[in-house]
């Protein structure tokens, strides 16, 4: 069955974590959440591949974990509240993770936030991004 078009598909730069993504990312997310406990962090530190093997992730998902491909993880069904545990494992603070996902440098992103954040103007519809 092909994925039905959703009313929120035209929002740019956004993955809405719906049931389709949740099914696709189930084991990836369960792997990520294992890192919120010290026992999981220790197991992943000791042997990353062995720890990942405990979860039925696809090879593509495992590679995105190895590559720390933050947007790729979302595209493969990851949810930010889960993938951020992998970020925390690496010692990355949330704001820097957001900077990486938005393709900005840490300092530029931080400055954008201090200056009031990313404006909704020009960021509501995919069509607005395509014009850029």
């Amino acid at each position: 069955m092909t994925r039905k078009e959703k009313e929120y598909d035209d929002i740019p730069g956004t993955f809405v974590f719906d049931a389709d993504r949740s099914r696709q990312g189930y084991w990836l997310n369960q792997f990520c959440i294992s890192l919120s406990k010290e026992s999981g962090r220790q197991a992943f530190r000791d042997d990353p591949e062995a720890h990942m093997a405990k979860f039925k992730m696809t090879e593509e998902q495992k590679q995105a974990v190895r590559d720390r491909d933050w947007n790729g993880l979302l595209e493969l069904g990851g949810n930010i509240y889960y993938t951020s545990k992998l970020g925390a494992f690496d010692g990355i603070v949330f704001q820097d993770l957001a900077a990486m996902m938005s393709g900005m440098s840490r300092d530029d992103y931080r400055k954008m936030m201090v200056d009031g954040g990313r404006s909704p103007e020009g960021n509501r519809y995919k069509s607005e991004w395509e014009k850029k």
């Binding site: 929120y8 956004t14 890192l35 925390a88 704001q95 954008m112 990313r118």
Partner: protein
């Protein structure tokens, strides 16, 4: 009779908790965030609740992807602050008013809100940050100074419950509280928000105009606020802005007319617009 005397809306940005735990709230970055909480802490001392009914969302702490209840009511004796990946927050254990919580659970189900009952649950920053905002610095050896009944709302997997449903749940919570025959002062918190997007290329979205309008209509025209669609939350306030449905639960539990005694809005705390309201109820 138990009475809901106030509703409090408050963002629960984890970095607010971190700033308090690291004692850096007077740094230039944080000072304007915390300045807006001074009034709230004084107000809270003068209007001390016996019980806080705290509407929040769990961030995959008590509930991982294996169980996703839309509404889960905490009925355990106590709730331990959880390790969310960087160690538990150094704050007190959260204690419940168990008999009252059980009464609310029963009342809600008979009122046709089929909530999940949690007899064991750890709580994360979604619950402890708003308590820190209102009750100030606490160590694990302290007491919070109130009993707390937590209500966890799913806003992680789309769809969250609608604004309208959340408002109606608030009304049902009000009926449950009003039918509890104990002379206690109850505050209800709606937490989360305001505009923020934590993920992907549009991360960092903030919509201050929308946020301020939302606070206006939430306070004065709640019938309008309960009609806000999920699509509007997503598009206008970012993928995580949808947390604001939880403010509707709080508003639904208050009178039609309320008095706004405090409003605070600041951008940013980390990736998020901080919004905060204290609304007094008159019934």
């Amino acid at each position: 009779m138990a009475k809901i005397t106030a509703g409090i809306a408050c963002s629960h940005v984890p970095a607010i908790g971190v700033a308090m735990d690291q004692h850096i709230t007077d740094q230039p970055y944080w000072q304007p965030v915390f300045e807006g909480f001074d009034y709230s802490r004084e107000w809270n001392k003068k209007n001390k609740p016996d019980v806080v009914f705290l509407v929040y969302n769990d961030h995959c702490t008590a509930f991982d992807a294996s169980v996703i209840p839309t509404f889960a009511l905490g009925c355990a004796a106590e709730f331990t602050p959880a390790d969310e990946g960087w160690g538990p927050r150094p704050v007190p254990v959260v204690k419940n008013h168990q008999e009252f919580a059980s009464h609310i659970a029963q009342s809600l189900v008979l009122d046709e809100f089929d909530i999940t009952i949690m007899n064991e649950m750890d709580v994360d920053h979604g619950l402890t940050v708003p308590l820190s905002v209102m009750f100030g610095d606490k160590t694990p050896e302290d007491e919070w100074g109130t009993l707390v009944i937590p209500l966890a709302v799913n806003v992680v997997q789309y769809p969250a419950p609608t604004a309208n449903r959340c408002f109606a749940l608030g009304q049902a919570i009000r009926r449950a509280v009003d039918s509890w025959d104990e002379d206690i002062n109850v505050h209800i918190y709606g937490t989360g928000g305001m505009s923020h997007q934590l993920q992907s290329q549009r991360a960092g979205l903030i919509n201050a105009t929308w946020d301020q309008q939302f606070m206006d209509i939430l306070v004065n025209e709640p019938e309008k606020a309960r009609k806000i669609s999920h699509l509007e939350f997503l598009r206008e306030t970012g993928s995580e802005g949808i947390e604001m449905v939880m403010w509707l639960v709080m508003r639904g539990a208050l009178d039609e007319k309320v008095t706004e005694v405090h409003r605070h809005y600041h951008v940013p705390a980390s990736n998020t617009a901080v919004g905060h309201l204290i609304l007094e109820n008159h019934a």
